[in-house]
Amino acid sequence: MRNDTPALVKRITALSLITILLIGFFLAFKEMPKGSAVNVNQRVSRLYVMKNVETATKMMENGKFFAKGIKPLRTDVPYTPITFGKSKNLEDGAANVVTSIVVDYRGFDTLGEVTVLFLAATGVAMLLFGKEKKRKNKTEPSLIMYVGTRISFAIIFLFGIYIFVHGHLTPGGGFPGGAVIASGILGLFLGKNGYKPNHLGLKVFESLSGMAFVIIGLTGLFSVHSFLANFLPTGVIGDLYSAGFIGLIYIAIGMKVGAELSAVVNSMIVDVEEEWS
């Protein structure tokens, strides 16, 4: 669509495209079988049985993997309920199921997500690169704002750290924790004209925490022979020191996301003079 197209035409086109999408979704959902009519065995993957490489290899060696007698859902292992604070050496060990999926079973996706955020921050900083000019605002923030942001920053920072350190126990984790910390730093920017975070520190922090994530993954590769595999004991469910490497990874993610989002805010807020010639 060209620049000189009237605004009404643009809006009508956009609305009709959205309507087509909505109609498509409506028709698609209408075809979807109702919840009660669904055979769970059909919808949930039947192969979600042999999850671990070790178990599968053992069963393969025993000739059981392809045998016809095996039921789709495992019945050979008796079902034991998981008790908070008592159950030990579970498959994953995180009390927060979302965390164990996000960091353990699909940890590679999370590494990718962290990289996406890193690249977005890097791209923003690259585009706004140049010699820093002094910021001049028309109004100085009031004393209340200045003192208030400084006090609340400590609390927000502590809360952010709490969120990512307890990622495997309570809702939350590295991404929310880092975002909370960055919003505290945004408060510091608003509280004082010409506030400057330590640029070198942010850069080093960001790099080191990102490298820590990859190094944890590589440790898995060299100790358990699989990239991003859990190489620590899973402990008792509900303890702070449990769930293996999830805690370590969430600390790395939290620090990285916090540093990155602060860097984005910083590079957006600072005025620069472009250096191309």
Binding site: S45, Y48, V53, S207, S226
Partner: protein, 505 residues
């Protein structure tokens, strides 16, 4: 089930160095560029090892969880070959960047370029439909930022268009993935592919259209390719070269991995898809429109970069036509043409970059009499142009020939499509030969220009490889044939290597 977990280093090592380049950059800007070069060099040598010395198809298990449960990378004939091509072209462009990128934020540019290459190889390697989305985002976000890099204002406009269109595309893709997930409860490509006929056909068709439209943005197919001319023209030449050489490969791969392996029916002379409409036929229609529109728009361009951009669009259409024929010969031709296109088009963009830097310019009129001014760049540009238009003895000949042969083999309405494509090829020949004629025949007297040594190395290697492929087509041909075998037989080529026990269910 053949597991080779160390291949995770193909993703792990670039990530580690991408995170650490800011630290290297504290020491020196040059060091950042060299770290990028060496890391891509590691990827190139490791993929060379896999392609020639290691047994494949093989698979990488992530986090010690077996495929349908955890995530995996699958290295079949397609992935092993394409990762090698991507890393080699990335390595050559990194050598060019050593010379070309001097001003601006060099350190962050190196980070983005490294992750752009690694993300493209990730798309080709991954065996998980959501992980594919993540790698699409990695490649996409780094390419928006790379496209905006440079002193010129036009770069920002092009990059912004690319960002908006591409974000809408990835949203559509994600919606399609969600719809499939509600039906099958899995994200693993092999398992979805094996159980795709258990979904309701209407929903499957809608999801397929959403996914195909999302992927068609990066694959430059017709209604979704409005960003192409502005982005390619605006970006600096090294970035245009990597967009057409690296991103193109991963985009086409993703499109046809989904269309042929996930949605495809196995068995039969050619691949067609489940659902109410045949997605392969849909792609064939879009691709034909792309070829014709691209070639006709390229004809009227006065700016060589814009002309190359439209030509790139048309070539992607031709590649998609080759794949969408769906028989083994067509897929063979498509992969062959994909490799030829990335080699030749990235070389042409690098040459334009050198010409602009030494003061010749990027308009067609500036190319007049170039033979007397600089024989090396004239010769290499002509080699690239001849390969593009499928001249015998150059790489492009064999691939175009097999695409035409495949469509004749398939018959039916593909005769009509290939007629249109051949007409477009005539147009393409006209505008490429016009430039070649300008370069050789014009008698304008202008001062000679020197070729800088560093960018001449990648251009020379690419030109030699085009001629080598033209004379010995089996260099690429053997790998393309294996890859075509994998794509056209989804059960024996893909699914059974990832989840062997699926045969028992």
């Amino acid at each position: 089930m053949n597991i080779f977990n160390n291949a995770a280093l193909l993703i792990g090592v670039p990530l580690l160095f991408a995170f650490s380049i800011p630290l290297f950059g504290l020491i020196s800007k040059e060091l950042a560029k060299w770290v990028t070069l060496l890391t891509i060099g590691f990827n190139a040598s490791f993929s060379f090892y896999i392609l020639f010395a290691h047994k494949y198809p093989t698979m990488v298990v992530m986090g010690n969880w077996l495929p349908p449960f955890g995530e995996n990378l699958y290295i079949g004939p397609v992935a092993a070959f394409l990762v090698f091509v991507i890393s080699m072209i990335g390595l050559l462009i990194a050598i060019y960047n050593l010379w070309a990128i001097k001003k601006g934020d060099v350190i962050r540019f190196s980070v983005l370029f490294l992750m752009f290459t690694a993300g493209a190889s990730g798309i080709v390697l991954t065996g998980d439909i959501f992980n594919l989305f993540i790698f699409m985002e990695i490649t996409g976000i780094s390419s928006y930022a790379l496209a905006a890099f440079g002193p010129e204002r036009r770069a920002l406009g092009g990059a912004f268009k690319f960002l908006v269109v591409s974000s809408i595309g990835s949203t559509l893709y994600l919606m399609g993935v969600t719809l499939i997930y509600t039906q099958l409860g899995t994200l693993n490509i092999a398992e979805i592919a094996a159980r795709i006929n258990q979904t309701t056909p209407g929903l499957l068709t809608f999801a397929g259209i959403l996914i195909i439209s999302g992927l068609a943005v990066e694959a430059e197919l017709f209604p979704f390719n409005g960003w192409v001319p502005d982005t390619y023209t605006g970006a600096i030449n090294g970035v245009s070269a990597s967009l057409s050489g690296i991103a193109a490969i991963s985009a086409v791969y993703a499109l046809f991995r989904i269309a042929m392996t996930v949605f495809g029916k196995s068995g039969g002379a050619y691949v067609s898809t489940y659902g109410k409409i045949d997605l392969m036929a849909l792609i064939a229609l879009l691709a034909t429109a792309t070829v014709i529109i691209g070639e006709l728009s390229a004809l009227s361009q006065k700016n060589v970069k814009k002309m190359l951009a439209y030509s790139s669009m048309a070539q992607m259409g031709l590649i998609a036509v080759g794949f969408s024929i769906g028989n083994k010969l067509g897929v063979y031709g498509g992969i062959f043409q994909l490799v030829n296109h990335s080699i030749a088009k990235s070389m042409l963009f690098l040459i334009v970059g050198v010409l602009v830097a030494v003061g010749v310019g990027e308009n067609i009129d500036d190319f007049k009499g170039l033979w007397k001014r600089n024989p090396f760049l004239t010769l290499t540009f002509s080699i690239g142009a001849f390969s593009m238009l499928g001249f015998p003895l150059f790489g492009g000949f064999w691939s175009k020939f097999s695409i035409v042969a495949a469509s004749v083999q398939r018959g039916g309405w593909y005769d009509f499509i290939i007629g249109l494509v051949l007409f477009a090829s005539v147009v393409e020949a006209f505008y490429y030969l016009r430039i070649v004629a300008y370069m050789f025949a014009s008698d304008v007297e202008l001062p000679k220009v020197k070729t800088p040594i560093t960018p001449a190395i990648p251009i020379f290697i690419l030109a030699v490889s085009i001629v080598a492929i033209g004379i010995f087509p089996q260099i690429v041909g053997t790998f393309s044939a294996q890859a075509a075998g994998e794509l056209t037989h989804k059960m024996s080529g893909y699914i059974l290597h990832v989840i062997p026990s699926i045969a028992a269910h």
